[in-house]
């Protein structure tokens, strides 16, 4: 146990009037805009959660048109991620790569998104072919853009083609105007750009809350890991706030299309804009959860005070916090970045929700950070977060335990348009390569990327934003760095592959999976790559030991990915599902699933759309989209068993130090489970025995999971499964499955 007792917290006391503002130059920037295309449309509000139309924009031809949302789309794909994948499927071919004009970025909020009665109901899903993985990536993001798009009249926004110059797409849902405008003078970075555009497109101060901007930053132009920021106007702080569609490089696609920003001006938000069939049920269900959060949150996760960062010290205590590139699970300095540190840094506003009506309000803001490096040195800024992933990825995984440095890394990731999770994992990989001599000062152009060297870490990030030096190489991501280091002969290929924490080309998010076989599958048996938003089952497997057999693990890796997929179809945030629980949850048959909340979600969907569903129907809705995405991956040349292999660092100890750090556990496993006496064996012999055993277990897990999911041993959905799901009505889907033995 390395965590010190929580110190007394002095509440953050910041004079917001001293925050650096970026209004200067706004008029000149506006004056330089030229309208390339203007189209009128009829604003509408959804009926039963749907508008039944998509907005399509071709950046090459500047064609702007409406496309119908058909009944078949709703039946098969529901909305959100489902709509995104369907539009993307129709836009691309198996040969399409991320920077081809036909690749799309699709943003869709889902049928229930935008309700204000229930916490966590304002999410958008963003889909594109990823520059990192060459398969579809999906990212779930807060902020107001998706709901405002929907309340302007569209269930989804499809962006295709490439502009020949930087443009802004403005959707005015109040006046019914869509404009493509040149943007020649716009600043690149999000915290500046989004503030300027919010002020520019709002008609007065009160209108700012009706504006949401989607943009990225300078690093998206020079890396493959660019992310998208979605904004909302924070009335209390008087500034824009940023939420991220982080994973997979969608920001890079955005800039490749020469989109500088999307701006949506929606109508004033009211409680019933979705025109649900049963408003009373929405209100009643919401009130129940508000009361639960009010009475239980302080006894449980304290999300209202600390947000997701509350688990920093918890992950450390359970040996799950990634330390030094996922080598270790805890560190004596974790107390320096624990939740109570952030509690003192984040201004505790009464409402910090990224959409209206969220009483969980976990979108914390650390105000009053004065930057010490980079182009904004000396500026006082508000940093969104840090969330757990940022504290772990930018902090412990690279050995950075200085809160100011961590916040500065967080800030620059956000404004430069860099995914914090990806950056954290790639920086940790680079630092371990430096430790092991794969990299050195000469190869990094002078950067001393030792553990915890925040100055070098920040400089690498600034280089990434400038497209210079080693930062530009790092911005290609772990997979391409591995290929480069091996091609250059800089180290043992097996070691480089073992410690580079990516699968399918996407970097791991910030949990240590090596002692939980189920979580190894929870990461690598995903559709888009190792992100924790499919199945976080470490506690069930490693701590509770509730999943002793392969079949138990397979069942968890069947249910939870489908359950979590459903949030992405609807426009829901996952956090109100299980970061708070009813007081009597423990008395239920399956408390891990939070059964009362599952019933809440069924009620919300039915009350919005009028479509009655039960849990089985809900899982079928998800399974259609989940299996469709798997087949989409196969169509793009991946999606098979070979693509589901994790790097060995995610499975077991790669180095002597790792083995020795847990030798008691590994020796015991060898004796009890493998049936080999470790006595008298060298560390190398024991590591080899452990490796063979663990990789064999992972292979058996794949067999069990594929069988449970209705897939072949090569990971292809079978025709029988396709028929169950009703996907056999799509001829190309059937052809792909048959061609791969499904």
């Amino acid at each position: 146990m390395s965590v010190n007792p929580a110190p007394t917290i002095t509440p953050c006391d910041v004079d917001f009037t001293k925050r650096t503002e970026y209004h200067e130059g706004l008029e000149a920037i506006r004056a330089a805009h030229r309208v390339l295309k203007e189209v009128a449309f009829a604003p509408s509000l959804p009926r039963k959660g749907y508008n039944d139309r998509t907005l399509y924009v071709d950046l090459t031809t500047r064609e702007v048109k409406e496309k119908p949302v058909t009944q078949q789309m709703k039946d098969l794909f529901v909305g959100g991620r489902g709509f995104g994948l369907w539009h993307l499927w129709n836009a691309v071919t198996p040969a399409t790569r991320w920077n081809d004009p036909e690749n799309e970025i699709v943003i869709s909020p889902g049928p229930v998104a935008g309700i204000t009665q229930y916490p966590g109901s304002g999410k958008s899903l963003v889909v594109s072919i990823s520059p990192q993985t060459d398969i579809p990536i999906d990212s779930n993001v807060g902020g107001y853009f998706g709901p405002l798009l929907k309340f302007s009249g569209f269930d989804a926004l499809e962006l295709q083609g490439k502009s020949d110059q930087d443009v802004i797409l403005f959707i005015d849902g109040q006046k019914g105007i869509i404009r493509v405008e040149t943007a020649p003078l716009e600043p690149a970075d999000s915290h500046v750009l989004a503030e300027i555009l919010t002020l520019m497109y709002a008609e007065d101060e009160a209108d700012r809350v009706n504006i949401s901007v989607v943009c990225t930053g300078a690093a998206a132009e020079h890396s493959l890991i660019g992310m998208l920021n979605f904004t909302w106007w924070d009335k209390r702080r008087g500034c824009i706030r940023l939420k991220q569609a982080g994973r997979g490089g969608i920001g890079t696609v955005f800039r490749d299309k020469k989109i500088r920003a999307l701006v949506c001006r929606g109508p004033a938000v009211k409680a019933d804009l979705n025109h649900p069939v049963d408003f009373e049920t929405l209100a009643r269900t919401g009130i129940k959860l508000h009361q639960e959060i009010r009475t239980q949150d302080n006894l449980q996760c304290k999300m209202r005070r600390n947000g997701t960062a509350h688990i920093v010290e918890i992950m450390d205590a359970y040996d799950l916090l990634p330390v030094h590139n996922f080598q270790y699970g805890s560190h004596p300095d974790t107390h320096k970045i624990a939740s109570y540190v952030w509690e003192g840094r984040c201004s505790q506003m009464t409402s910090d929700g990224c959409w209206y009506g969220c009483s969980m309000g976990c979108a914390k803001g650390a105000d009053g950070l004065v930057l010490k490096t980079g182009p904004y040195k000396g500026h006082m800024v508000t940093v969104d977060g840090p969330e757990y992933e940022n504290a772990a990825g930018l902090g412990s995984n690279g050995g950075v335990f200085d809160p100011d440095s961590l916040l500065e890394l967080n800030f620059y990731c956000d404004t430069y348009g860099i995914c914090t999770i990806t950056y954290g994992t790639l920086a940790a990989f680079v630092m371990e390569c430096y430790q092991r001599g794969i990299l050195n000062k000469e190869r990094t152009g002078g950067l001393e990327l030792t553990w915890g060297n925040a100055e070098a870490d920040l400089e690498m990030m600034h280089q990434m934003a400038r497209g210079e030096g080693f930062g530009r190489i790092a911005g290609q991501g772990v997979k391409k760095m591995k290929e480069l280091f091996i091609a250059n002969g800089w180290g043992d290929p097996q070691l480089i592959n073992d410690i580079g924490m990516e699968n399918k080309g996407l970097e791991y998010s910030q949990y240590l999976s090596k002692e939980s076989l189920a979580q190894q599958g929870g990461y690598a048996l995903t559709n888009k790559g190792p992100q924790h938003d499919e199945a976080w089952v470490i506690f069930m497997d490693m701590v509770n030991k509730q999943l002793p057999t392969f079949e138990d693990k397979a069942e968890a890796l069947y249910y939870f990915p489908l359950w979590r997929t459903w949030f992405g179809l609807m426009g829901f945030c996952k956090l109100p599902w299980n970061d708070v629980a009813p007081a009597d949850n423990a008395t239920t048959a399956e408390p891990a699933k939070i059964p009362e909340h599952v019933q809440n979600y069924l009620a919300l969907f039915t009350a919005t759309t009028g479509i009655k569903i039960d849990v089985e129907t809900m899982l079928m809705q998800s399974a259609r989209v989940y299996n469709f995405q798997r087949i989409f991956n196969i169509r793009m040349g991946k999606g098979l068993r070979a693509n589901d292999l994790p790097p060995y660092r995610a499975v077991g100890p790669v180095t002597r130090e790792e083995y020795e750090s847990r030798s008691e556990r590994y020796d015991k496993q060898m004796l009890d489970e493998i049936g080999v006496d470790p006595a008298g064996k060298s560390i190398e012999e024991k590591m080899a025995i452990t490796r063979r055993y663990r990789l064999d277990r992972y292979s058996q897990l794949c067999d069990a999971v594929y069988a449970r999911r209705g897939w072949t041993p090569d990971g292809v959905p079978t025709m029988a499964r396709l028929k169950e799901l009703g996907l056999d009505v799509l001829p190309e889907v059937v052809d792909i499955v048959k061609a791969h033995g499904g």
Partner: protein
Amino acid sequence: MSMIQVNGDPLAWTPGLTVRGLLQAKNYIFPMLIVTIDDRRVERADYDRELIPDGSVVQVIHLLSGG
């Protein structure tokens, strides 16, 4: 030696061991727990006074979190 089982693993038992003492010993600091002793659920309010008998089978179920 007197033993109990905690989540399937053996643990040395000491007289007077409470649920709170067990959680501290195992460093189980996650706030969303369900504790059972021989299939009987223990309320959170009783963690300080609930004694764990020798030979008990204790489950400390951590609910899901993360992400």
